[in-house]
Amino acid sequence: MRSNMKKMVLLLCIPALLAAPLSGCGKNEGSGDDSNLLVVYNYGEYLDPEVIDLFEEETGYKVLYDVYETNEIMYPKVAANPSQYDVICPSDYMVTRMAEEGLIAELDMEALPNAKKYIGQEYWKMSESFDPGNRYSVPYLWGTVGIMYNRSMVDEEVRSWDILWDPKYYDNILMQDSMRDLFAVALKKLGYSLNTTDLKELQEAKELLIEQKPLVQAYVVDEVRDKMIAGESALGVIYSGEAEYSRWENEDLAYCIPEEGTNVWIDSWVMTKESRHKKAALEWIDFLCRPEIALMNFEFIYYSTPNTGAMDLMEEELLENDVLFPDLSKYKLEPLQYLGKEAERMYYNLWKEIKSA
C-alpha cells in the first residue's frame, strides 16, 4: 500500500521537476539597499501602469506596487505594519480614521506645487469634510454611487433606490459587498444620513437589506462592471467611473443618481507616518497631479478627476458628460465620514447578520 501511495505522490510531483528549471533565479531584487524604493498601495486597476514606468524613469526610484479591493482590506494591513507602505490611496472616511489614529503624516504642501496649482478649489473644499484644513490628503479621483441598469431588461425609468426592492427583479440585482456602501443604499432609501450612528435607524436599514436579500443575485465589488456588461443582471449598484466604461462596452447600460440622494466619494493620496521614503512619497503624489499624468490616469480608469489642468486638456464633450462631471448642486450628495471604532463595530455586526441571513 505504501509503495502505491508513493507512486501516486510521485505521479503528482513529477511536473515539479519540470517547472523547476523554468523559474531560474529571479528573487534577487528587493534585498539589500532599499533607499531608492517607494512602496505604493492602491486600489486595484486604479492607475495606468505606464505612469509607474514614467515615474521610475524620471526619478530613478524603484516602485513596489501593491493593490487592495476595499478600504477594509487595506486598513488592517497598514495598521499591523505601519512602516511597510509609503503612499496609500484611501477613501474619504478612511483618511479621517487613519489621521486620527496617527497612521498618516501631515503633508508639506510647499513640496506639492502641482497639487496646489491644479486640484480645483471645490474639491479641496469637498475633502474638508473628512480632512479639515486639507492637511493629510491630496484628492486623486472622485465620483458618485448610483444605479446602473440594462435598458433591455428594465423598461421603466429608474429614479429611486426603491427599484432595488421590486420583486420583479428577482435574481437580477447586484449590490455592493463593502459594508458602508451597502448600508448607504438602505439608509438613503429610508431618508436617513448615511453617516448615522443611531442604532434604531441602522436596525431598520438592516431589516430592509435582509428583506431584499432573496432578490439579490450577488454582493460583489468590482465584478459589477463585468457582470452588467455580460448581461448577467438587470440592475447593479456601481461607482460612477465604472459606469462610464461599461456604457462603451454595452450600449444598453445606463446610469442614474437616485433622487433620495447618494454617496459622493473622494479617493486621496496620503503618506504613512512611518514611511521610510518620505521624499519619494511626496514626489510621487506631486507627480500624479501633473496635468498630463492625471489625464493618463483619467483615460485609463475613467473616474472623475479633480485636476483642472487635466480638464483643460480634455475635449469639451467629455466635460459635459453628466455621469463623469455631474452638476454638484443638482443632487443630494453626502460623503462618508469616519464614525469611530465603536460605531464601526456596530455596523460590522449588523452587516454580519445580513450576510448570514
Binding site: 507512486k7 501516486m8 435574481d171 454582493y219 448570514s356
Partner: protein, 282 residues
C-alpha cells in the same frame, strides 16, 4: 554507541526548536488571543460568541454543507475507485493519472471557472434556453458551494480509498466467491469492511477542509453565503478583531481534534488487524 546517540540528539535540536517555535507557540497564541479581550484580560466571551445568531448560523451551514459534500465525495469516489482498481489490472495506470492531473491547475482558477459554467449567461443555462427550457438559478446557491467543495476535495477521498482497495488480497475475494457468496455479499461482508480504514481517512481528509473553507464560498457564493471560515477570515482581515477571530477558531479546533481522534482510533484498529493477521500467519 553513546557517540551516535549524541549525534542524533544534535540532529534533533533544530527540529525540536522548529516544532516549538513554529507549531506549539503559534497555536498557544491563538489560544491566548481567543481567551483574552483587547485589553488582555481573561474572558470566555470570544468563544461564547459562537452562540450569536450570525455565528451559529454560519457554523451550522458550514457543518451541513461540508457533511453533504463529504457524503457526495464518498458516493462518487467509492465506485470510481473500484472501477479504477479493475481497470488497473487490465490496462495501465493512465486513468488514475487522468484523475490527478487536474490538480496541477491552480485550484482557485479551476473553482472560479465554475462561475462561467453555472451563471445566468453561463454554459449550462445558455444550453437550457437554447433547447427551450427555463434557465436555472445555479450560481450563488448552497448547491454551488457543495459542488465547489466536491470538485476541490474529491481527490482526497479517492486516494486513500483507492489505496486500500488495491491492497486487498485478491485471494480473499476469490475465497468468498468459492464459498458461495454472491457479488453483493462479497462486497458487503468482505470488500467494504476491509476498505473501511481508507474510507475513514478519506472522510476526515475531505470534511475538515470543507468545514473550514472560506475560498469556495467566496468564489461561488456571490457574497450571499457566510460560512464559519468566512466569518473568521473577515474578523482577521476586515474587522481586525483578532480576539474574536481566535475565539471562533478555537471552536473550529474542537472539531478538528474530534476528527483527529477518530482517525487515530481507526488507524489503531487497522494496526491491530494487521498484527492479528501476521500473528495468525505465523
Amino acid at each position: 554507541m553513546t557517540k551516535t546517540r549524541r549525534i542524533s540528539g544534535f540532529l534533533g535540536l533544530p527540529f525540536v526548536f522548529w516544532a516549538a517555535a513554529f507549531i506549539i507557540i503559534p497555536l498557544l497564541m491563538v489560544v491566548w488571543y481567543g481567551l483574552t479581550d483587547e485589553n488582555g484580560a481573561l474572558t470566555f466571551a470570544n468563544i461564547a460568541a459562537i452562540a450569536q445568531p450570525a455565528h451559529a448560523k454560519a457554523l451550522l451551514l458550514a457543518l451541513l454543507l461540508s457533511l453533504l459534500a463529504t457524503a457526495v465525495c464518498f458516493l462518487l469516489a467509492y465506485p470510481l475507485c473500484m472501477f479504477l482498481v479493475e481497470a488497473q489490472k487490465t490496462s495501465n495506470s493512465f486513468l488514475t493519472m487522468l484523475l490527478i492531473v487536474p490538480m496541477w491547475m491552480n485550484f482557485l482558477l479551476r473553482t472560479y471557472a465554475w462561475q462561467s459554467i453555472l451563471e445566468k449567461t453561463g454554459i449550462i443555462n445558455t444550453f437550457l434556453t437554447a433547447i427551450g427550457l427555463q434557465p436555472l438559478r445555479l450560481i450563488n446557491t448552497n448547491g454551488a458551494i457543495v459542488l465547489g467543495m466536491v470538485y476541490n476535495f474529491l481527490p482526497f477521498m479517492v486516494l486513500p480509498i483507492y489505496n486500500v482497495l488495491e491492497d486487498i488480497d485478491k485471494n480473499v475475494i476469490n475465497a468468498a466467491r468459492d464459498l458461495g457468496a454472491n457479488g453483493r455479499q462479497t462486497f458487503l461482508k468482505v470488500i467494504f469492511p476491509l476498505s473501511l480504514p481508507g474510507v475513514i481517512s478519506g472522510i476526515t481528509m475531505v470534511f475538515i477542509p470543507a468545514l473550514t473553507t472560506f475560498v469556495v464560498s467566496s468564489l461561488l457564493g456571490g457574497g450571499k453565503i457566510l460560512l464559519i471560515g468566512n466569518v473568521i477570515e473577515q474578523e482577521f482581515m476586515v474587522a481586525y478583531d483578532w480576539n474574536l477571530g481566535s475565539g471562533l477558531s478555537l471552536v473550529l479546533l474542537l472539531f478538528i481534534i474530534i476528527n483527529v481522534v477518530v482517525s487515530v482510533i481507526s488507524e489503531r484498529g487497522e494496526e491491530e488487524l494487521r498484527r492479528r493477521k501476521s500473528d495468525a500467519e505465523a
